[in-house]
Symmetry: C2
Subunit: 160 residues, 2 copies
């Protein structure tokens, strides 16, 4: 393994770890627990499941990995806050989307070369990238990994 | 900038971003708000400030960056849960430690070469590292970045 491959492997392992931790927490919840708020008046867990799925699905586009699987989620889970739209899709359906999106991403991550990870992401112009080359695919991956960890810290607080 | 330097820069930028976000949230809190629990019966914010400081300080040791600054924090903020030891040090003191620890780390991170980031961390044997070379300094950095994001997600939930 070259140094570059090793570095990318570490970043992908970190992503995988965050997704697997969230997955484990989600799988342990009952249907009823998904309706609980993480703290009084805050997001419900079902909303965070949809939100993480939508944000991860969007990575297909921003990383230039092909068509995303569930663009219909954005309206419910990104551009509107929790409780603005009811009813949300059932947990069983969202769980299926969550699993598909994450496995699709992992498969596509594995196909990128270290050099491709260092190329700019699609939400950036060539000019912006020339100014700041650290805003590349890898930085998007690390940012989304931290986003998953951020919400995972909240999900485990929901009353049982 | 070589590819390897660029990769390490992205990881350090991600760490810096997580620490700065937490720092901004901490600085906006009143003395009184530090005593709030992030959710009913859970950790108080003052505990998480000490906990993050202690975990970050330990990175000096695990990454082989020299003596840590505040080993006395571990007993209060890592090996015991919140509310087991009272009183905790004042917020003003913990804030000073938090700032010193993070600036010391950033300074030492900047002095490591990309190759050094890929070397094993001190909590691993040579044998273990040979089996899994992704368990290196860089993986510790990403793991601690996610740890900070995880608790940041909780801190912002505390009632104002």
């Amino acid at each position: 393994m070259t140094h570059e491959q090793l570095t990318v492997s570490v970043a992908i392992a970190s992503w995988k770890n965050a997704v697997e931790r969230a997955d484990k927490v989600f799988r342990a919840l009952t249907e009823d627990q998904y309706q609980h708020e993480i703290a009084p008046g805050r997001n419900r867990i079902i909303y965070l499941l949809g939100h993480l799925t939508a944000i991860h699905d969007r990575m297909h586009t921003i990383l230039g990995l092909g068509e995303r699987l569930h663009p219909e989620l954005d309206g419910m889970f990104i551009s509107t806050p929790d409780k603005a739209i009811e009813p949300l899709p059932p947990v069983s359906e969202l769980t299926k989307f969550w699993t598909h999106v994450n496995s699709s991403l992992l498969e596509k991550f594995a196909a990128l070369s270290p050099q491709e990870w260092l190329q700019r992401h699609t939400a950036m112009s060539d000019d912006d990238y020339a100014k700041d080359p650290t805003r590349n695919r890898l930085s998007v991956l690390l940012s989304r990994t931290n986003h998953a960890s951020y919400h995972l810290g909240q999900i485990i607080l929901a009353p049982q």
